[in-house]
């Protein structure tokens, strides 16, 4: 599998490690009302789609950046690769 790194171009999947669902970026606020339920869902509940899936990959033996990869779980076709940093910043994180 080839992952088209946004900065470094096409790189072999053996340079990466896989973390899982990209919703891990949306860590709940521990101080908010209902934080216990929110963290239970954050930790344990995952969709398991047969189709398009957004997931986190780490370029471990590369530039060590985290990527959000959009992959079809049936075909392994990758349709989009973004820097996780950009995704998190676009959601107003990092402040």
């Amino acid at each position: 599998m080839i992952i088209h790194h946004p900065l470094l171009g096409p790189r072999d999947a053996q340079e990466f490690t896989y973390l899982g669902d990209a919703t891990l970026i949306d860590r709940p606020d521990a101080m908010a009302e209902g934080a216990l339920e929110a963290f239970d869902a954050y930790l344990h509940l995952r969709d398991n789609p047969a189709g398009t899936h957004r997931e986190l990959w780490y370029h471990e033996v590369g530039d060590r950046s985290w990527l959000v990869v959009t992959r079809d779980t049936r075909t392994h076709e990758i349709t989009q690769v973004e820097l996780a940093r950009d995704v998190a910043l676009s959601k107003g994180r990092g402040r």
Partner: protein
């Protein structure tokens, strides 16, 4: 004072060098290394400070730049590895920290790495060796690039110094394994 005997990255008293067919693989220990990671929002100021020190512009993704005795290679977004001759910069982290101050985190890296210089008559005789070691596309790794990748399960940085010339930076703790991989691959293409 203790009477210490310096050893090379491969553990010997002299640097190893082998010629295998048209390829030469030589252990090198004459670079001082320091990593520089710009702190949030400081990348431009760090670039300006280091330009004054080294005379070079910090390279972008996958790039390597050199000016005079200094060279810089891109490691990750807003972080670089700087190299200078060890004899001239025995305390490179201090030299690099001075112009960047609190704008960047600087870490001494000299003894963390081993360098192997690979010389071939031209790229056509260099790439058969590199192709057996890593899965980097030759079209993306011409002279002036620095690419971190896997060689024989070890993380390594491939530096393209020029036509037919490359250097491989690997962890010094596994220098002998990396050396074995390079020599075995060279024998298989010689």
């Amino acid at each position: 004072m203790a009477d210490l005997t310096p050893i090379t990255p491969l553990g010997g008293t002299t640097l190893r060098s082998e010629t295998i067919g048209a390829l030469r693989i030589a252990e090198g220990d004459d670079w001082a290394l320091a990593s520089v990671a710009a702190r949030a929002g400081q990348a431009q100021a760090v670039g300006a400070g280091l330009r004054e020190l080294t005379g070079l512009d910090l390279p972008g993704p996958g790039g390597m730049a050199s000016a005079g005795d200094w060279r810089a290679l891109w490691l990750s977004p807003e972080s670089w590895l700087l190299a200078a001759p060890l004899a001239q910069e025995p305390d490179i982290a201090d030299t690099v920290k001075r112009p960047v101050g609190d704008g960047a985190s600087v870490t001494e890296q000299t003894d963390a790495w081993v360098r192997f210089d690979i010389t071939a008559p031209d790229d056509d005789r260099l790439w058969p060796l590199l192709e057996r070691l890593c899965n980097i596309d030759p079209a993306c790794a011409g002279p002036g690039t620095a690419t971190r990748t896997v060689m024989e399960h070890l993380a390594a940085i491939l530096l393209r110094e020029g036509a037919g010339r490359a250097a491989v930076l690997g962890a010094r703790s596994s220098a002998a394994s990396l050396h074995h991989a390079l020599v075995a691959a060279a024998r298989s293409v010689a």
